[in-house]
Symmetry: C2
Subunit: 307 residues, 2 copies
């Protein structure tokens, strides 16, 4: 198989795009695609200060690399969750983020949850009795809160996460199987900023996970291969496997599912978001927007585990 | 495992409903469920004349049996498609429909496509060059047209088909994967009648395929086991298998997917149907409503193959 661009031997064959590319052209193609989606969904400009949430995985480190290559002003933030079961997951992922940032002379902010809030995430989860033994719900709550807080406090214009097409398609699939209207109206590449909430964007939302794996590999970026030890057996993992089967039998299905969803929402398939969106107000403690009465879920959780 | 109702040994265990029943109670339970959905979706009354489209398969013959047991005035219509590849599919299925109707002293109308329109469906499909070698598209067109025509000409109030939950979930799944807005707004247990189109309803839309298989088996109804020889390898079959995997791993998923879809549409997740529905007008040849200019798709197809 030959590279569509230069005719040399292809290194990556993307059946989903009917496109094969050599190493060099693939490494140019991925950032071009990301740039295209940053523009298309009006995510941010080269003048704005961008904060990339990095976990040490291929998606977020690959994304940081791409944004720097594209000339964006992107710093990183690493959140130390304190997940050290089995493989010292958090310690190892922090090292890889630090190594990447120092290799490239970039700024990395580190927020250590244990130091900031007294407990690592798995202990927070146990103490707060949310999530039935799995810390994933509390972990998501903590990450959303802390990423937003870090971006606001340090004056960034936009918070960027490494969610790829496989992530987005799996979430969309879960929300569709249960017809979760509110989530269907909200999920997308860009969540606009408002008082107390910084703008959030996903520049990899149309890049396949395997494309990011090939990118970080060919760019020689050292990342943590292991999944979070708590991810095994999760519903998202299950849906990803089901969608992988679909994608394997019908290449391009995942992309069609996600992109056509965005298009039909854009062209008015659903009711307008405002009609069913609940009213939000600032949490009296932290100032982040919340739909709950009084304190936001994060502050209530912290309150509970401090008692 | 014991019958939830009488405590005797259960014959059918429905994990999807967390319900096990003995033979006798199961054979009462299925018609009760069907009655419940006939009422819930306001399908028809005991005063109306009902026409059941029967194919000789378990769903349509089982449904006819249920409607008669429930006291509805239900006649049958069998459409002879002329699909005789391999197993003499059409001949065999007609025999089974005739046997069922004569055993129960019921009225069965037979429409023979070859006699009425000069060719069996597979030949129509070839001559009209629709559907890329598979007659399924033409078959659907013919059945929709002829069922509607039969119901109108013979003065029935409502046309009833044996689509079960697995059928409906697979169609919904296909339309969702591609976000086919127009179909998502239209798919449902009841399609109201209008000038030129008789009301169409699906009383089995919330009954699992395996429940209908158990029902016809336990009721000793003789039906055609074989699938249509053209169904193998179809997209619908593929989606059914994928949903079966999901259902097997998470019992009840199929039902949740379909029922929550109906509910969220009911509660206004989508735009109103009227906003995107195209205008329909009566076909100048047959009088059935159509969205195409001039002749409807069926009459155009017949025109084409008669030249």
């Amino acid at each position: 198989m030959k590279c569509r661009i230069c005719g040399r031997k292809a290194a990556v064959n993307m059946r989903q795009h009917k496109l094969a590319l050599c190493r060099d052209d693939f490494l140019e193609w991925v950032p071009q695609q990301v740039e295209r989606f940053i523009q298309k969904y009006k995510m941010f400009t080269r003048e704005e200060r961008v904060l990339v949430a990095v976990s040490g995985g291929k998606d977020s480190l690959g994304l940081w690399d791409i944004l720097i290559r594209l000339g964006y002003r992107a710093d990183g933030v690493y959140i130390g969750l304190g997940i050290d079961e089995g493989i010292a997951y958090s310690g190892k992922s922090q090292e890889l983020c630090e190594k990447f940032s120092s290799n490239h002379g970039l700024t990395l902010h580190v927020v250590d949850i244990r130091k900031e809030y007294g407990h690592p995430v798995p202990v927070m989860s146990e103490l707060s009795r949310r999530g039935k033994g799995k810390p994933c719900a509390v972990c998501g709550l903590v990450k959303r809160h802390v990423m937003n807080r870090a971006a606001r406090e340090m004056g960034y214009d936009v918070l960027v996460t490494g969610h790829n097409l496989d992530d987005e398609a799996a979430v969309l699939f879960a929300n569709t199987l249960h017809w979760e209207g509110e989530y269907l109206l909200r999920q997308g590449p860009l969540l606009p900023g408002r008082e107390g909430l910084v703008r959030k964007v996903k520049p990899l939302c149309r890049i396949y996970e395997k494309e990011m794996a090939a990118y970080t590999l060919l760019r020689d970026i050292d990342y943590i291969y292991e999944e979070c030890p708590f991810a095994a057996g999760s519903t998202t993992t299950y849906y990803k496997e089901l969608l992988n089967k679909l994608e394997n039998d019908h290449p391009g299905s995942k992309m069609t599912f996600y992109v056509k969803f965005l298009k039909s929402r854009q062209s008015g398939l659903f009711v307008e978001k405002e009609k069913i969106q609940q009213s939000l107000h600032p949490c009296p403690n932290c100032g982040q927007l919340t739909s709950t009465d009084d304190l936001c879920s994060f502050c209530r959780m912290i309150d509970k585990i401090s008692q």
